[in-house]
């Protein structure tokens, strides 16, 4: 009896071992923002190519950069591109592969005021600088004729945790306001001139939902899913743009002329009448020279798949797909991975 059990266990273990060896395991870590899309991609891709298994840990962009630099993962993911200094710290040449785009919306809680409050981008900067302090300030009121704006102080809510969302938002503010650029600057965590800090999208949204007269910023997808009201912004070209997947993609399409070969570009405040001003890429970080050629080949196959089939799944999950012309560029870049 005991012998039987032993032999059965041994057979089972052998089967497991052979299963494991047939499967290539590709590890990745990084940004939380694209995680829902990536996990969808990995599970869909597993149906097509059964010989490869992806394991992605959404530990945050900073963690992703640290781990790919230390080579403890096969690919990293980040919402902010690496600085020259960070690239130099990596043991090999790291490529930025843009996957999709995200947008950040300005959300608020104003009793009696519906979605679609109109704000000029300069006014958004001055609100977050603490220079516009009342909701009925003429600068806001002039753009919103017919809307009863209350004579109440504006309560600013921002992210307290380091995040790519904050990075994109402060990048946008630095672009529209010289004062913001010199006083605060751009980063994943900055020294906020005014306001309260909430942890995560849910922390900011929670405070805005429960507190009247607040204003803050969250990811577009988060605002859509939670039906938060968001502002229509007047962009660099002077047209009013409602945040949506279409206007997000439009920002990247507008940037294609100035697209650098390594895709390290900020997409905020792009010209164009449909371009929403607070938009950013999210990237996968991959070494140009793969240590394990077999793994590298599988990774390239996956990247190609994500660029074609994968892009079609993005909109349903509220991510903006890469515009055609950008996708063509990326296709060429992927070919350079060895």
């Amino acid at each position: 009896m005991l012998k039987k059990i032993l032999s059965l266990t041994a057979a089972g273990l052998l089967a497991l071992a052979s299963l494991a060896s047939a499967e290539t395991l590709i590890n990745g870590a990084g940004a939380t923002f694209p995680y829902p899309l990536y996990s969808k991609w990995f599970s869909e891709y597993a149906k097509i190519d059964k010989s490869v298994k992806f394991n992605y840990q959404s530990i945050g962009s900073g963690g992703g950069v640290k781990q790919i630099t230390a080579q403890t993962v096969d690919f990293g993911a980040s919402d902010a591109f690496l600085t020259d200094k960070e690239l130099a710290a990596a043991p090999g040449k790291l490529l930025h592969i843009p996957t999709v785009m995200g947008a950040v919306v300005v959300t608020y809680n104003l009793p009696g005021v519906p979605a679609g409050l109109k704000l000029k981008v300069e006014d958004v900067a001055d609100i977050f600088l603490g220079k516009i302090t009342k909701w009925n300030d003429p600068r806001i009121a002039d753009d919103n004729k017919g809307v009863a704006l209350p004579d109440k102080p504006i309560i600013v809510v921002h992210r307290s945790d380091g995040s790519g969302t904050t990075s994109i938002f402060t990048d946008f503010l630095s672009g529209v306001s010289g004062e913001w650029k010199s006083k605060v600057g751009q980063g994943k965590s900055v020294k906020w001139p005014v306001g309260l800090g909430g942890k995560g999208n849910e922390g900011v949204a929670g405070q805005i939902k429960t507190t009247q007269y607040t204003i803050g910023y969250v990811e577009l997808a988060y605002a859509f899913e939670n039906k938060l009201p968001f502002a229509t912004l007047r962009n660099a070209s002077g047209s009013w743009v409602v945040p949506s997947i279409k206007t997000t993609s439009a920002a990247a399409a507008a940037a294609v002329k100035s697209m650098p070969a390594d895709y390290r570009i900020s997409l905020v405040n792009q010209p164009g009448k449909d371009a929403y001003p607070i938009v950013g890429f999210t990237w996968l970080l991959v070494y140009e020279n793969q240590k394990d050629p077999a793994k590298g080949k599988k990774l390239v196959e996956f990247l190609n798949w994500s660029l074609h089939k994968g892009q079609k799944m993005a909109s349903a999950l509220l991510y903006a797909p890469l515009p055609e012309n950008v996708a063509k560029m990326v296709e060429k870049s992927i070919k350079t991975i060895k």
Binding site: I155, S160, G162, K188, S189, K191, K199, G206, T210
Partner: protein, 331 residues
């Protein structure tokens, strides 16, 4: 070799002296192993602590060398300009924990007294287990409740009333945001009540019956018996409970982060947002890539460890002085 023989010989000689000891001989080897094993485990805890201190000091070196003592006194926290000062976080942690203790201690000691001294035993244990249930709630649940229920309630009802009636005091000035130092203190107080209550209850249960009976025999009322016989006896134990509560409060991260407003500033107003040391680590550590930023957060961790250590030393001293006073009083 000779020496060893001598020792062995000695041993056999002594063990031959009584029968009982010869029987105990194999047990002695067990005792020795047991002693070494426990010593090993105890030392490993110490080793972990030392390793942690060493590692944290090493990782925070860039920040220690860059800012020196200014790190403790500076109140700038700017990751973009790479300027770091920990004072607002130190202030936030200490003030929120101390206020929470001031609020929670009378509540907990009164609850413990009710359970052990006043209500019948069965009702007492029912209340005790309900209070202990509070300790089992994860802190993120407290945080969610705090940010979704308590903070809006504070903003709509409590804080405007305080501003209207006590707004002239520096502690209640400014606009009511809901999320604030006050919200942090309240949530901490609720979270540490179960700990202080549970330990105080154990301490009070350990007070000998004869103490109470003696007091009652002398004609003391129930309150007098508690005051002269029960509380002085349990004083050091209750103090220990409070210190444990303080340790829990100062290290609490999630719930506080969600309701305190996360603004690194030093304000005496309970209505204004603040920041604590564990909160800033939890908020910023995952997304830092700059070395100096990581080092600054590590140094905050080091300061947190030092503050906790300091509190424990103070507590030890306090308990010693209290128990010493008791013995002198008894003599």
């Amino acid at each position: 070799m000779q020496q060893q023989d001598l020792i062995l010989g000695n041993k056999t000689m002594t063990s031959e002296q009584t029968h009982a000891e010869t029987v105990a001989a194999p047990g002695r080897a067990g005792d020795r192993i047991f002693r070494r094993l426990t010593a090993f485990f105890a030392l490993s805890i110490l080793a972990i602590l030392l390793l942690m201190i060493w590692q944290m000091t090493r990782e925070s070196l860039p920040s220690i060398t860059a800012f020196g003592g200014k790190f403790l006194t500076g109140s700038e926290w700017d990751a973009v300009q790479e300027e770091f000062g920990a004072l607002p976080f130190l202030f936030g942690s200490v003030i929120s924990s101390v206020l929470a203790i001031l609020l929670a201690t009378p509540l907990s000691v009164a609850t413990a007294l009710l359970i052990t001294e006043i209500v019948p035993h069965r009702l007492g244990s029912a209340i005790a287990s309900l209070v202990e249930l509070l300790a089992a709630i994860p802190s993120v649940i407290y945080g969610l409740w705090g940010v979704l229920v308590m903070a809006p309630w504070l903003q709509r009802s409590v804080q405007p009333w305080l501003v209207d009636h006590f707004g002239f005091l520096p502690f209640f000035e400014g606009a009511p945001y809901g999320v604030s130092m006050m919200a942090g203190v309240l949530i901490l107080a609720v979270m540490i009540v179960p700990i202080i209550t549970a330990i105080s209850r154990e301490v009070l249960l350990a007070v000998p019956r004869s103490q109470r009976e003696a007091a009652v025999a002398l004609g003391a009322t129930r309150w007098e018996a508690i005051r002269i016989a029960v509380l002085p006896y349990g004083k050091s134990g209750i103090l220990g409970a409070v210190i444990l509560g303080l340790g829990r409060a100062i290290g609490e991260t999630m719930a506080v982060t969600m309701v305190i407003g996360n603004t690194p500033q030093i304000s005496w107003s309970l209505l204004s947002p603040a920041y604590t040391m564990p909160s800033v680590i939890a908020n910023e550590f995952a997304e830092t890539t700059a070395k100096i930023h990581t080092a600054a957060l590590m140094e905050i961790g080091l300061i947190l460890l030092a503050v906790t250590l300091l509190i424990n030393i103070l507590a030890r001293l306090l308990i010693w002085s209290v128990t010493k006073g008791q013995k002198q009083g008894a003599a």
